[in-house]
Amino acid sequence: MTTRQFLISAWNWNPWVIAICVITILIYSAQQRFHFTRKIGWLLAGLAVFFLTLASPIDALANGYLFSAHMLQHLLLLLIVPPLILLSLSPAPVPDSFQNGRWKWLNWILRHPLANWFLGVGGMWLWHAPMLCNAAVSNVWIHRLQYVSLLLMGFAFWWPIIGPWHKQRISPLAGIIYLFSACVGCTILGIIITFSPVEVCSIYLHPVDRLGILSLIQNQWGLTPAKDQQLGGLLMWVPACLIYFCGIFGLFARWHGETGDKEIIAESQSTKTIMEKPYVH
């Protein structure tokens, strides 16, 4: 099989994935009462990434062939899809059912950045314990549980930074510490995986060649198991941190864009004439 043939044939039209995409769009449309703003772009981007993660050849490769493809899926589900979808939501007050009603327990988690942080970073570490990593590849139900939990933990992680309930967002400076420490967390894991002489996911060491692409991967692409794991570790180490850094720069922009509370805005409007003057000597 050539690379081209593989890329064309390895799509997996999983009805679950398509159904989730369609249902999400329907729910979103209903919630917006079919008055769309530009924010729907974020949603579509998020769902497109979600679809590519689980239906494209990435999934075929992650299914027992390449640890690095599995890592890519992991990162997309944890760090790309949830923030994109959160960005598509309009700001809203905290609903009553979350403040006092039956979702109070969930709100407790959402309200505590430390809990969110541990969910997001812990999720990364947890699924790379060798036992769980192997189980997720060999058992389809654990595999699905992994996908769902990654998405949920991703939502929890990004909630205090870009969640729609602005009251629950943490201050930009705290957010910078939140994201930087998360980067440190995944850097350490990435470094350990990159330099570890032991296989993290031993199942990728001897793939079952269901699709007949093993020689393509190992000979033509040159991805031996050792290189594959190094690549996986590096994905977790470098691009993951770059995603956190993007969040940090976003927070920085938000912080410098803040003008302060309302009376201050009023005051600065009265000084607007002054602001428009050039200040060269």
Partner: protein, 743 residues
């Protein structure tokens, strides 16, 4: 001015403010201005020493096959030149400038911890003398400023030079970290009312970001140095390949410090330029937010690019790929800065003073150095030129053409504030042009020499066509550069005596340091002007046309921090990195099979688990103790403190028994890599527990003496945090070493 003065904000009344005189008053001083001056004078001495070393190198290289220096002397001199310039000149100069200027620029009386400040300074001459003492003790280190293993291990570096190098760098590292913790605490907690973080002068902002780089990067070096020292003196095998150690691990450890270090030496220089360029272009900085944010971007990215120093090691394609990408990426925020400075000058009413000339030259030379730096991100080019004079040219363009020119700009700009007298502009111009021509003559030709294949760190070179000529040009340039420094020294001496009196604000600058007298009084300010924008003195001088208010009229940021807490948290961050390196070294060596003792045969998780519970319980008791003290229940506090001390002691005894058991089975720290890493990691943790117990005993003494009766219990809270940290580290160490055995 007089009505404006009524809105001045008075800050805390000064203590007795008459400046003490005499030599001893300088030794005993805790005044940040005097300490800043001491820093600058000390670094000036080392700058001259390092410069003379550079000239010796250039004399040796002036002609092919020269015999002026022996190979060994050449190795020693280039090692000393690099180490001196980086650790004894560039870093302390920037720290010294920050020390002098940051409290003035933020309208503070002094640094947050004046005594700690004095300590960080005095560690500098100690470290410097220790390093140079090696010359009397059998020879200076001759292994390069990066001390690559195994060359730096005992079999290859037989004199004690490397030992002095390790000890000296450890001392200097501790000094830098202490200074940075101090700067962080100062900037976070000592700002004048109204000076919110978004209104900080860019120099202060960059020093702030830079201080985080220091406390995160230096402990990596310190950990590596400690391991090297243990290797050399206890015969262990961290970096000795003959016994399974990894020389590449040294490179990883060293460069994970070394690349952030490049930015540690550049960011404050960027800060100087961001102050000098706007003042002499008579315009506010273009894109303040972008300059500030790009500083953060540089700081963050600088931790993810170190492997580009190691492309030639053979890290494999995946590593090369990722690190080439991040290395190129870091050019973006740096480029943003260069654009911002250029745009500030664009259309400004530029005054070409000496300071501004140096700043403009900085901009051009730093850009050249930056561009040649990007070429190193291209892996195949890196392989070709990494060991050549092309690299020497590159980093001298960054560090001399960049950082030093910025420091000179800063010196001409702030000298009037520091001394009350202007530096002579006539001598200054001479100094500038000599430095500019000398520097570029000395280093530009080295690009060509490097591309022609001339290897660095070799004491001589063959007589190939053109090499002799280009090297002679370089040497002449170096001497011209050296002469320009003499002009600077002459200028300083003459101006100190006969310089024009400066007045408070000779450059019509806009930041707070110019609001006080030159030189400032011991208490810095009696009152500071109102601060509503980034240029308070502009607003004061132009009430009809003030700058836009930044971030509303709020006089404070949304958070209030206590300086002791900031200090201890910064300290714990730096300690975490130190332990992280030890833990990574343990993991690196203990995940595959080896001969000799192994964790499985030597350790008993259950037994150590019991002692672990003791330590964890002590975390609870100290937490409770602090709670009691907050409610002023002093005797309950003392009982809980005693319990904490006892639990800590039990843990230490447990660890001691574990060590004895291992010793009795004939295993020593040098037996194999398990023993090496195990004893180093648990030993350093045990040391921290002992320090914690001593600190708790001191608290006990203070409590018995009635020290906490007035409710000043910050010390107790800080030690409490430290104790929690020690316990948390043990939890990680216990999981990594013991719990892994149960899986």
């Amino acid at each position: 001015m007089s009505e404006a003065a009524s809105t001045f904000v008075a800050i805390e009344t000064p203590a007795a403010a008459s400046a003490p005189r005499g030599l001893f008053s300088w030794v005993a001083t805790v005044d940040h201005k005097r300490i800043g001056i001491l820093y600058l004078l000390t670094t000036l001495v080392f700058f001259v020493i390092g410069g003379v070393e550079a000239l010796l190198i250039r004399i040796q290289l002036a002609r092919p096959n020269n015999t002026f220096l022996s190979p060994d002397a050449f190795d020693q001199i280039f090692t000393m030149h690099g180490t001196t310039m980086i650790f004894l000149v560039v870093m302390p100069t920037l720290i010294g400038l920050a020390n002098y200027l940051v409290p003035l620029m933020i309208g503070a009386r002094d640094m947050a911890f004046p005594r700690l400040n004095a300590l960080s300074f005095w560690l500098l001459p100690c470290g410097g003398l220790l390093l140079h003492f090696s010359l009397l003790a059998g020879g200076a280190p001759a292994v390069g400023w990066f001390s690559y293993a195994p060359l730096s291990e005992t079999p290859y570096a037989t004199t004690s030079g490397v030992d002095y190098w390790t000890l000296s760098l450890l001392i200097l590292g501790i000094g830098s970290v202490a200074a940075s913790i101090n700067l962080i605490a100062t900037i976070l907690t000592q700002r004048a009312p109204g000076l919110t973080i978004r209104r900080l002068p860019l120099f202060v902002w960059m020093v702030f970001v830079n201080s985080f780089l220091v406390i995160l990067a230096l402990p990596a070096l310190n950990a590596a140095i400690v391991m090297l020292f243990i290797d050399r003196h206890l015969g262990t095998h961290f970096f000795a390949p003959a016994n399974g150690g990894s020389a590449v691990l040294w490179q990883h450890f060293f460069w994970s410090f070394g690349h952030p270090e490049v930015y540690i030496m550049a960011l404050p220089a960027f800060g100087i330029i961001s102050e000098v360029v706007p003042v002499f272009a008579r315009r506010p900085i273009f894109g303040y937010e972008f300059v500030a944010a790009s500083t953060v971007a540089i700081a963050l990215l600088s931790f993810g690019v170190w492997a580009h120093h190691m492309f030639a090691v053979g890290l494999g394609h995946p590593m090369d790929l990722f690190f080439a990408a991040t290395s190129m990426m870091i050019a973006v925020p740096t480029g943003i800065k260069v654009f911002a400075w250029s745009a500030t000058m664009w259309g400004g009413a530029i005054r070409l003073t000496t300071a501004m000339l140096f700043a403009v030259a900085f901009l051009i030379q730093f850009t050249i150095g930056g561009l040649s730096g990007i070429t190193f991100a291209v892996v195949p080019i890196d392989w070709q030129v990494t060991g050549t004079y092309y690299l020497v040219a590159h980093f001298h363009y960054v560090l001399f053409g960049g950082t030093f020119f910025a420091v000179f700009a800063g010196l001409y700009y702030w000298f009037p504030k520091i001394t009350g007298r202007m530096l002579s502009e006539r001598l200054g111009k001479l100094n500038f042009w000599m430095a500019l021509i000398g520097f570029n003559t000395a280093f530009f030709v080295q690009h060509f020499l490097g591309l022609m294949g001339m290897a660095r760190r070799i004491y001589t070179y063959p007589d190939l066509p053109g090499w002799g000529l280009l090297n002679m040009i370089s040497t002449v340039g170096a001497f011209l550069l050296g002469a320009s420094v003499l002009v600077l020294l002459w200028n300083i001496i003459v101006s100190l005596r006969h310089g024009k009196p400066a007045g408070d604000n000779p450059w019509q600058a806009w930041t707070l340091e110019w609001a006080t007298t030159s030189p400032p009084p011991a208490q810095n300010f009696d009152r500071v002007p109102p601060i509503r924008s980034r240029r308070p003195l502009w607003d004061l001088a132009h009430p009809e046309n003030p700058d836009p208010i930044v971030g509303g009229i709020a006089a404070r940021d949304g958070f209030v921090l206590e300086k002791n807490r900031v200090g201890i948290v910064s300290f714990l961050i730096t300690e975490s990195v130190f332990f992280l390196m030890l833990i990574l070294a343990y993991l690196y060596y203990n995940t595959h099979d080896m001969n000799g003792p192994t964790p499985a045969t030597m350790l008993n998780p259950q037994r150590t688990g019991i002692y672990t519970l003791c330590l964890l319980a002590s975390s609870f008791t100290i937490w409770l103790a602090v709670k009691k003290l907050e409610r002023k229940k002093h005797s309950a506090f003392r009982w809980l403190l005693t319990l904490t001390i006892l639990l800590g002691t039990v843990f230490i005894i447990g660890q001691g028994r574990e060590y004895l058991r291992i010793f009795h089975s004939g295993v020593m720290v040098n037996s194999n890599l398990f023993a090496t890493t195990f004893f180093t990691l648990t030993g350093f943790h045990g040391l921290h527990v002992c320090v914690g117990v001593i600190a708790l005993l001191i608290l006990m003494g203070l409590s018995l003496a009635g020290d906490f009766k007035q409710g000043r219990i910050e010390a107790v809270k800080s030690i409490g945090l430290y104790w929690h940290f020690v316990d948390a580290v043990w939890l990680v160490v216990f999981s990594v070493i013991y719990l892994r055995l149960l899986l």
